[in-house]
Structures are given as C-alpha cells and as structure tokens.
Symmetry: C2
Subunit: 320 residues, 2 copies
C-alpha cells in the first residue's frame, strides 16, 4: 500500500505509515502517536485507511511546517491534505465548519469579537462572518502556505480572507494567546491532529491560555477528534478542562471524509450562567436558508450533544 497508487490517494494512520516505511522497528516505538501533555494517546487510526480517487494533483510542496497537498478528486471536488491527512474536501467540508463555528457562536447571546486559531483554509472564517453580531474576527494561522493554497484552490472556503472585519496574524496560536487576556467572546480552535504542528493545541496549558483570553461570558470550541478512534484522548481533554472551566461539553457530527466518518467538538464556557447545549439564539427555517446553512440548525445543535452510551460511559468514568 502506497499513499499515491494507481490514481488513488490513501490516508493511512501516521503511525502505520511510519511502520510501513520502517518495518523492522520495534512494535511500540512510533514517533507518530497522538500526544497530549506528554502522554501518548495511541495511534491515530491504526489498521484502517481511507482512499479518494485522484483526478489531478494541483499542488504539492513542503511548507516550513508540513507537507501540503491539494488534489482534484473524482467525486469530492478539491481536497486539502496536510502531512498525509485529509483536512477538507469541497463536498463535505460544510459539516465540520458549520458545527465547529456555530455551536459556540449560537450558544452565545451576542458574539462580537471572535478568535480563530488555525483554520487556514478559511472555512471557519466564512461561517463566523455569517453572524451579523460579529464586529471583528482575529485569525492566527501558523502556516501561510495553507492560506495561499486555499485562496487558489478552495475559493468556496477562502472567500472571507479579504473581509474588512478580519485581522489576520501568521504565527503560533499558543504564543499569540499569551498576550491576549479577557478579550474574546468566542474562540475557535480549528487544528489538525495532535501529531506534528498542532500537538501543543491539545494540552492543559493551552486551554488555560484559552480561558484567560475569553471574556467572562466567553465560549470556546475545539476540534475534538473521533469517538470511535480517540476516546482516551477525548476523556483526557474533558477531564482536565473540568478543572479549568465550569461547563465542559462534548458534541459530535458526521463528516464523510474524516477517519471513521465522525468528528467531535469540545465546547467549554467560562461561566456557568447558561447551558451551551441549547442555542441562545434559535433560528427560523428562513434564517437557516438565508445563512446558507447546510448542516447546522437549532435542532441539530441540541442533538449533537446527545452521545452514544459508550461515549457517555467513557466520559463519566473519567469524571469519578
């Protein structure tokens, strides 16, 4: 099995890929395991792989931080791949972008200042700008090449980069947060997986910085991995955040091209004055249509926080 083989791109678990390129290494020696706070959280999705048929490779270069690939697929439109992992396809990206952005934004009564960490493809930015309440969006993306390829090859996602409400910083989100206190109504971490450049975005000290950068009634959402694949990591994230935030919730939705087809969202609030699992602003059918929402609606908001029993068990067990 190769990553690009007979016209198909295959997304392997980074740890499996490392083993394939070095089959003689001892079984448990992978440097490509998921990590949080120095703890190893297992392989990303060992023993499984997802493939997309490639029509044409549009871009393939190494940036300062990662391998950046964009290809045109036969059935999912253009596809952005970072370090061998599918980040977004034109066909299903709306599911992830809408849920990660609108869960915290509609849980908030009046979000004015929003910070996006990561999100270089522009999809989250596009969704944030749909909220009339928003006066300023700050975005902190470490890899300028991701923004550049999105502008060129993912126009439907990158449409917000020229918006007057945007303040764009190219740099490390972790470092950025250190200089921003009590400033944002909503913060959204749109990161890749915790192996490579995004590893620091899955540790307790990062979430402490997030809390401090939020206003008192602020809400944050973070990419929260898959319940099928990353329960130990998710339970760890939920457990340490319960020490930092009065309310910590986990939601999930389906995303066709993410590993195992589902994605989770960690939603935390700095105060306990409201229940983020129900929207503070409920949308009519007409508003859903006018905002061009294809996944999110106010019922979906609530249902996303209803977790399968095995996930509930895992998160409650950790609580005890």
């Amino acid at each position: 099995m190769d990553k690009l083989h007979k016209g198909w791109f295959t997304e392997f678990s980074p740890d499996d890929l490392e083993k394939m390129s070095n089959p003689d290494a001892p079984e448990d020696s992978s440097s490509k395991l998921l990590k949080s706070d120095g703890q190893e959280m297992g392989g990303a999705w060992p023993g499984q792989a997802f493939s997309l048929q490639v029509k044409k490779v549009l871009f393939h270069e190494k940036s300062k931080y990662q391998d950046v690939l964009v290809f045109e697929s036969t059935t999912y439109g253009n596809v952005l791949v970072l370090d061998g992992i599918v980040q977004a396809t034109e066909r299903d990206e709306f599911s992830y972008q809408e849920m990660l952005a609108h869960l915290p934004l509609f849980a908030h009564q009046n979000p004015k200042k929003v910070l996006i960490i990561g999100g270089g493809d522009g999809g989250i930015l596009r969704e944030v700008l749909k909220h009339d309440t928003v006066e300023k969006v700050t975005m902190c993306e470490i890899d300028e090449m991701v923004i550049d390829v999105a502008k060129k090859f993912l126009p439907g996602m990158s449409c917000g980069f020229s918006h007057e409400k945007l303040d764009l910083y190219c740099g490390d989100g972790f470092e950025f947060l250190k200089n921003h206190k009590n400033e944002f109504d909503v913060i959204i971490t749109d990161s890749s997986d915790p192996v490579g450049p995004a590893e620091s975005l899955f540790g307790q000290s990062y979430y402490e910085l997030l809390r401090d950068a939020l206003k008192e009634d602020g809400i944050l959402s973070s990419q929260g991995e898959s319940v099928w694949l990353h329960l130990p990591l998710i339970a760890h994230l939920v457990a340490f955040n319960r020490k930092i935030f009065p309310t910590v919730n986990y939601a999930q939705s389906i995303v066709s091209t993410y590993p195992s087809g589902s994605m989770g969202y960690l939603i935390c609030a700095k105060s306990d004055t409201r229940d983020v699992t129900t929207p503070a602003r409920v949308l009519s059918d007409e508003q859903v249509k006018n905002m061009n929402l294809r996944f999110y609606n106010s019922e979906v908001h609530k249902a996303a926080f209803v977790l399968p029993q095995f996930v509930r068990n895992a998160l409650e067990k950790k609580k005890e």
Copy 2:
C-alpha cells in the same frame, strides 16, 4: 488498487471495482449501480474506498448467492464481508445492530412477535432477544452460509441462534412475506445494499408486503443507507413509503466501518397513533446497563431523528 493487497483488504464501490476490471467499458455502463424499482440510483460510493489491515483470512468461499469472506483484522476484530462489502466488524457492530433493532422495538409499547428479514450474522437477533416482551422471533435469511460463518467466527453476534424463541427460515424474505398477513408487531429488514441479492428489498412492492405483514399498531425498520452517499435513494424510499404508511421517519447514527461512517434507518408505522421518534418505553440508566446497551439509550433514540439541514431539505423537497 486491488481488493487484497500487501496485507490490507480494500472495500471499493462495486461500480468502481467493475470499472477497474474492465477499464475500456463506456463510462455509464456499470451493472453495479444501486437500484430501486428498476431506477438506477447511482454508484454505491464512487471515488472512495475504505481499507482494513488483515491479520489472517479465516474463511473465503462463494455461497449460492454471494462471495463470503471473513478475516481477522489488526484493530477491528473479526470482519464479515459479503460481495466485497464490509457487513460487520466485532468492534463497531453494536452501533448498527442496536439502532436498527431498538428504534422500532422501543417505539412500540409491547412488541411480542418480531420478524427479522436478513440479519444472518445474528446481531439483530441478539438485540431483539433483550426485550422481555418478545415471545417469538421469526428470522428469514436467504443465505445459510452467512449463518454458519457467523456461528463459527462471530460468536458475540450469533449467540441467539439456539434460543427457544427463534423460528429460523432459510429463504427469500420477499416470498416469505406473501404468506404472512397482519402477524408481526415489529419487522426489521437487515439487508445488504441494493446491488445483488438484496435489490428486491428496496422497492415499493416489498414495503407493501411489509405493511400487510404488520399488525395494525406494527412498526418496521429497514437498513436505510448513508445520507452522504445515497440521498436520491433515501428520498425515493421515503417518498413511496409516504404513500404506504401514515408515518415515515428517517434516523441515522455513526458506524465506524460503514462507507462514510454513517448509516440510516427507515422507521415506518402502520398507524399514526404514536410518534415513533420518541420511545414508548423510556430506559433508566440501570436498564441501559442491564441490557448491555453500548450505543442506544432513550436520548439517543430521539436525537437520531434530528437530521442535518441538507438531508431535511432533500427529504422535504421530495415531499412537495
């Protein structure tokens, strides 16, 4: 790309696989498209593929109806594959089995007689037998070889085949229904996709037979494909069932190893006296534990019927 290559099994869309074996055929000539009522409903999951790493092939034979493969995977336990398509893995099968079985069973106040069509692996049977109300389960599976391999290689799923409440028929579900009228409280169709032996289980005349075999307060559930991949087929199923049943509902859940990671369930009731989207019998935490439910609970029941906006749009459009 080959189906078994360097220790990995790859599940291609049947139509893509046909094209690969006959690359010179005209673009739109596939005999492997999904079909319902003679209408072609597109490829199964064109342009994408899912792979599992194989530890050991345990069984591989052609039955009278299909190609039957069982292998031990490295990370999903034993895997049952029919005609190249993953039907169940030991690690995630509970999600599909619990939802397909318990949505209609808990929507019913007092299910006594249950019919399962298909379901040869035994997973649905296992879940049905968890209901004390059930007095008799009739099962009609066309392919005896599936039952035999499940008994041998999937003991956690096939544990109900020796149960005294079971009446097992090996034969065609469509033919079986013609001789059974007004007999069952709940009918569950646990079929493979509508290409090959299960094609007849996705047409209007099949659902008319199902209606007639149900008692007046009867409820049925059917495997309902994926919202990411089969919206035209789902919209067709919903539309013709609205002519047959007073209430037609669609639910979905996540299943790690199904194409695009999600699976839908078509739930219809013969009368309109109750809303099947809320359970008629609500479970306590203790009951959930005692029934060894790992996916389903009463909150999950309700949330499963909340559909993403793009699915709602597609099903409502068809309604007009």
